[in-house]
Symmetry: C2
Subunit: 215 residues, 2 copies
């Protein structure tokens, strides 16, 4: 498999974690989101993924877009180890946490959105930082509440094995720290992030471990 990835993209980071957890070999094809005016906007990449967003997974002659769709695809094609629990209720709980991060937090802080706030809406740094931190704090508070109240929460987001929600939590928390958000109010999220950090699958997926990493 080939993963079109950018080291700092948290959507690509999710998929790198999922591939590592399943021990699926893959090659990284770097797509630099800032260089050349944004390599994701090139004709070649657009032909692969009309949304012009990373990541894209290429498996043989199939190109799969959207990080959550890619993780579900990996779960169906490489079922073990499972990234979703057994039972419809537990699976719905994990998917709700995945969607909370992938829909309610991350899209508001995506590079293209921050660019629009800067260039089209002419917002200054303080207003953009405020925007970023507002949505991250709101979303992580919801995630913390979901984790605290659920009997399914264990060492990881669901039970004692890492899964799809953890693969979303860690990149989102990486982003939050990078933007200097105060995350101290989310102890359960922090505890799970620390548990993930002990695992090779997560460490090897980190931005700083990527072939296209920059300082």
């Amino acid at each position: 498999m080939k993963l079109y990835s950018y080291f700092r993209s948290s959507a690509a980071y999710r998929v790198r974690i999922a591939l590592n957890l399943k021990d699926i070999p893959y090659d990284i094809v770097p797509v630099h989101l800032l260089r050349d005016g944004g390599q994701q906007l090139s004709d070649n990449y657009t032909a692969l993924n009309p949304s012009q967003l990373v990541p894209t997974l290429v498996d043989g002659d199939r190109a799969v877009a959207e990080s959550v769709a890619i993780m579900e695809y990996l779960e169906e094609t490489h079922p073990k180890p499972a990234l979703l629990p057994k039972g419809a209720a537990a699976r719905a709980h994990v998917r709700a946490m995945v969607q909370l991060i992938a829909c309610d937090i991350h899209p508001l802080n995506n590079l293209r959105v921050l660019k629009y706030l800067k260039h089209d809406l002419q917002l200054d740094d303080a207003a953009r930082d405020g925007w970023y931190r507002h949505w991250i704090a709101l979303g992580l508070a919801s995630l913390e509440a979901m984790l605290v109240r659920s009997a399914l929460t264990g060492r990881f987001c669901c039970g004692d094995e890492p899964g799809m929600a953890d693969a979303c939590l860690v990149p989102q928390l990486f982003n939050a720290r990078r933007m200097e958000c105060d995350v101290s109010a989310f102890p359960t999220v922090l505890r799970i992030d620390a548990a993930c950090a002990e695992l090779d699958a997560f460490r090897k997926a980190a931005p700083s471990s990527q072939p296209d990493a920059e300082g």
Copy 2:
């Protein structure tokens, strides 16, 4: 089942379509997003769904949040008729379209985001309309491209039976029209929307058909 819903919420609209397509009986519990300062922010609703977003599906003693997680839950608990096709590649294609709408378009135009643009960032009507239309046009252009290039596209987003991607497409297009976006550049999206409009499952899910509908 009970669905906590707001007639104009496009996330709730998706779930209403999915429930109708599967012919699952349900009661609507209206949550008015504007009245009482936003009923989704009430203690009672927050106890049910800490994200304070609609919809929430209650099935016996289970509460499921996030529209896409709810649709996947319904697919697992009520498999027929299927809203996802057979085969991992086709399922990934449908899920990519679902995520494109649910992550890349809709969250940027959610009520709470528009409120933040107005009250916190003090953007005027023109700037907010520009924002809204920008993300819808960009996202629908990607969706149109995905549909045009895929051999799986049929009368509906995937083949000749309606499914999960159609349940996302129709509410997004409803939103686009409501905000007076120009959708003429997306003929395949429009053709599929028209095909859906012929089906009772979609018609009964429409905002104007809801018990809490307003003029």
